[in-house]
Symmetry: C2
Subunit: 586 residues, 2 copies
């Protein structure tokens, strides 16, 4: 061992001890005849002190150290004259006395950016030198958190009798859904494996096998055109249980979330409220409402329609939100909000506002159409008080308008400081629709996936009104982020066949794609269900990060490239030949 202590643990209690430390040079300062060096490792920083008077050669050597040199030093733990209460080791320093007590284990070129929480390195540079970026405390802390969360997930699930089972990475391509990454098979020319988008079918097979409680923390892959905050490879906490109903799953995984909050963040979270998908859409315009703040939608058709204001009079939906205490918004701020909702990503035509003044009167941007009496009705409906600001959107499509209002609500929440990263609001969104209608393709798609079970009481609707069928499907939402979701699965092969039919699979295609699963279901499939969490997102949320990239050790950029190792890259011709492949020029 190159050390007998780490750089984060020495305290006043160690005074007088001779210790050996190893680490990286964080900072060098010369003061008077002294040289101070901060030595860093994963565990902290410790100050070393070299005295010109006791050993000039040693001090000279210390003066020639560079940032990020790797050092091994032996010295005596001494009390500092100027203590630093901000550092855990700030009361002591290590006095190094002779040259042979300082051993340069490795030199370092000057790093291209500073190894500090607030670094001067831009995103591209940091990604290219990710191994240096990872030296920064704030980045390493995210990965330490990730380790802890994964470990606590395993501990909780193990304690509940779950078995972690590894499912294969080299599987078969299923052209439905998102695009697969594929892997040519050299031994089977012209054939390919695919990388799993999720272990969905395998975990269901494990239930057929009687594994009863399965989980896996597992890499999944999706060859998508990358939007912000998507990675081609991502990690799921994948879970499945047999002989359970939806209620059992919600309870068990609510317990897991509570366990994580408690062990990782020391927070006792309250029981998770449940909201139907229908209510989430109605009151928040989103299936993942941020419930850290209220500001629910109020439908205003009855009150605001038919008063001669053409925009509202022609609307299919009018909805409002009440921003508490925001009546003081200036003209400029209100205009900025209008610009915000008019951005093409949101697409509203404009917004209407109404202020509740100190005397209780309501002043609106469309005052001329509305007598105070109506505005008072508005105020009452919005539950608004003096000092509040009411914001209204309308449109000819209720769903679309709600989505726009959702964006406005989130923006107002942010502006009013209601989206505190250190505050957590968790809930279950339940009763998702089974199908999603695609206007474009003129057909239904599975909202979750084709194995999701309809609610038993809605099964008769499959034939008459598929769009109204609710699924036994659920998402866990925290702070407006969908951290996990799942469903009770179909375990009856007849019902599964019916689903495939409704989803437009020919029997041949269903057989080709899911034949092995359907076949397995003939041999006694138990009732089962499960869910999967996105570990990257879950960790980001706990870490208060804006991007999942920061909790991934070696992430890829938006073009799917690892700029550090420069992948992907061209292959050698011999490799392609062995794989019986030829690259076609586009």
């Amino acid at each position: 061992m190159y050390r007998n202590h780490n750089c984060g643990e020495l305290r006043m209690a160690n005074l007088g001890e001779t210790v050996t430390l190893a680490g990286w040079v964080q900072r060098i300062r010369k003061m008077g005849g002294m040289t101070f060096v901060d030595l860093r490792d994963r565990y902290g920083l410790t100050q070393l002190v070299f005295n010109q008077e006791t050993d000039a050669a040693l001090c000279e050597a210390a003066n020639h150290l560079g940032r990020e040199y790797v050092l091994q030093v032996t010295g005596v733990v001494t009390e500092r004259s100027a203590k630093n209460p901000k550092m855990p080791t700030g009361e002591i320093e290590i006095t190094v006395k002779t040259v042979k007590e300082m051993n340069i284990l490795n030199e370092s070129a000057t790093p291209p950016f500073t190894i500090e929480d607030e670094t001067d390195g831009g995103d591209d540079l940091r990604m290219q030198y990710r191994y240096l970026d990872l030296r920064r405390n704030c980045v390493r802390a995210n990965l330490e958190l990730r380790h802890k969360m994964a470990f606590e997930v395993r501990r909780y699930l193990d304690s509940k009798g779950f078995l972690e089972v590894e499912t294969p990475v080299l599987i078969k391509s299923t052209p439905e859904g998102a695009r697969d990454f594929v892997v040519p098979s050299r031994m089977n020319p012209g054939q390919f494996y695919a990388l799993p988008q999720s272990p969905q079918t395998f975990k269901q097979l494990l239930m057929v096998s009687g594994f009863d409680r399965y989980f896996q923390i597992v890499k999944c892959f999706r060859d998508e055109d990358l939007r912000a905050d998507r990675q081609p490879e991502f990690t799921q906490i994948d879970c499945e249980m047999s002989f359970v109903e939806q209620e059992d799953i919600l309870e068990l995984f609510e317990g897991m979330t509570r366990h994580l909050f408690k062990t990782i963040k020391g927070i006792e979270i309250p029981a998770l409220p449940r909201m139907t998908w229908h209510d989430a859409m109605k009151y928040y315009g989103s299936d993942k409402p941020d419930t850290r703040f209220d500001m629910r939608f109020v439908e205003l058709m009855d009150i605001m329609k038919g008063h001669g204001f053409p925009v509202f009079d022609s609307a299919a939906y009018i909805g409002g939100i009440c921003a508490k205490g925001a009546a003081s918004y200036t003209r400029k701020q209100l205009d900025a909000l209008t610009e915000f909702v008019k951005r093409p990503q949101i697409g509203a035509k404009g917004k209407v506002y109404a202020r509740v003044e100190a005397d209780g009167n309501v002043k609106s941007s469309v005052d001329k159409f509305y007598p105070q009496e109506v505005l008072q009705q508005l105020k009452a409906a919005m539950n608004a008080e003096a000092g509040d600001l009411i914001l209204m959107l309308s449109g000819d499509n209720a769903d679309k308008t709600r989505k726009q209002l959702c964006e406005l609500r989130l923006e107002m929440g942010a502006q009013l400081g209601l989206r505190d990263k250190n505050k957590y609001s968790c809930l279950w969104v339940i009763d998702f629709p089974l199908f999603e209608w695609s206007e474009e393709d003129g057909r239904f798609y599975a909202m979750h996936h084709p194995f999701t079970s309809p609610k038993p009481e809605d099964i008769p609707l499959l034939d008459t009104d598929p769009g109204a069928v609710r699924a036994n499907a659920y998402d866990m939402v925290i702070n407006g982020v969908e951290v996990g979701g799942g469903s009770i699965r179909i375990h009856d092969s007849k019902l599964q066949h019916k689903m495939f039919e409704l989803l437009g699979f020919t029997p041949e295609r269903a057989e080709e794609q899911f034949g092995f699963l359907m076949n397995a279901f003939k041999f006694g499939a138990p009732p089962h269900g499960g869910l999967a969490y996105g570990l990257d997102r879950f960790v980001s949320l706990f870490a208060g990060l804006d991007s999942i990239r920061d909790c991934i050790a070696f992430p890829k950029n938006n073009a799917g490239r690892d700029v550090m190792i420069d992948a992907p890259a061209a292959l050698e011709d011999a490799q392609l030949k062995e794989l019986s492949l030829k690259v076609e020029n586009k």
Copy 2:
């Protein structure tokens, strides 16, 4: 929840309780007016009893159940009249009284083989219906063991301050070494990712990043022509530490192995002996000696050469083993051993034997060349006693002959019952050579990999006698199986460059392949080292399995196929087109 108890937990203490169980029908027996059904789940078997007299319709329904039907039953825990001491639940049974207490959750077609430890299903059939094979207790037990081992590995390493960090799966191809599986990038036409053969470079980068103690239980991939007991995807316990010497790593991972033996198998294993690679080759003809039994090689050149026996007189090596108590081997058994060593896989020309008779005399197959006096010297050298059998091989290449003798030793160990699967003998093999000379290519290869550090005292030999340089490399061997291995790495970029040079890399090629690692080393790489265990093998060893396949949930066959899901498979033309690829006919 479809049950309030599982099928493995009810005992006499539960008598009189009304319980609900769910599981699979294992067996149905009719006796007198009774029908007995064994209900199975992951936790055990429980007997259900249906009485013709109390409810004829119910009993009739039970008689129509089939094997592997999925059943939910409610009944009363009753004492059995005929108890079964072999079953944990063998003292009780569940009396089911009315039809509505038996709920068939799913029917089952007749499975293609019996769901029993001793099944009638052949290997191919079991793999095709792996989801049914996994229902067999003995198969599920292997995966339960795998879960436990992985969990205990994590628990131990977490307790030692290791962080589990996920490294990327989509990386860059390195044509050196074994073949990579590659993944075409749709977004970067003509470019490919590769799947990692191990996270070697990433874990070294994490050490450069100051992560200090890293581990990961991780899937790795190798596109090899599959020999028996190789899988294209396999799982490693991958570990790396900074500021350590070889001794620190050996101690820490000896501790991990001890922890596993203790927590999983309840065995306290003794401190691991260490054997140099040189001794392992000399005394066992293998770098992974099975030390459950002794039977070490004794070199016999001095004693047996020069007595007129042409085979020995012309040999470059003569070695013997002493099989205790095997003097009673018959002519037929001895001939079979000769056939064994003459098999092309082993390739010896024949073997010579000598029996130590009850009176102490030695009788040899080449008696006519050797006076009893010499044979007594042989006996003494071999430490042989009355009743022992001495087996000797010779050849013109010492290494080759030792390998042959190794096979003979293992065979004799097996025949004499010395390779008990329930006995464990662990050791470290250390001081591996740094290089391996390839006669075929006329050059040196890295025995371990190009990042392995030479022993500091051997560094001068790099220029004069590379073949004699020993590495700071080590393998953990248990019962003749290499379960793990690793090395101290080179952290000095000059030494690393020299290694690349000795291994015949041009500077350009070294840069192209490992440029990012060499670059990282310029910024202060700490001394570091690590090792990796093969989880599949480790589990197989603990489970006493002959093949790693049995501890993998969904393994591939020797042609790299998953016969259950029928992968790999052809892609659709559109998929190939999107990837800018064309399959060439061979």
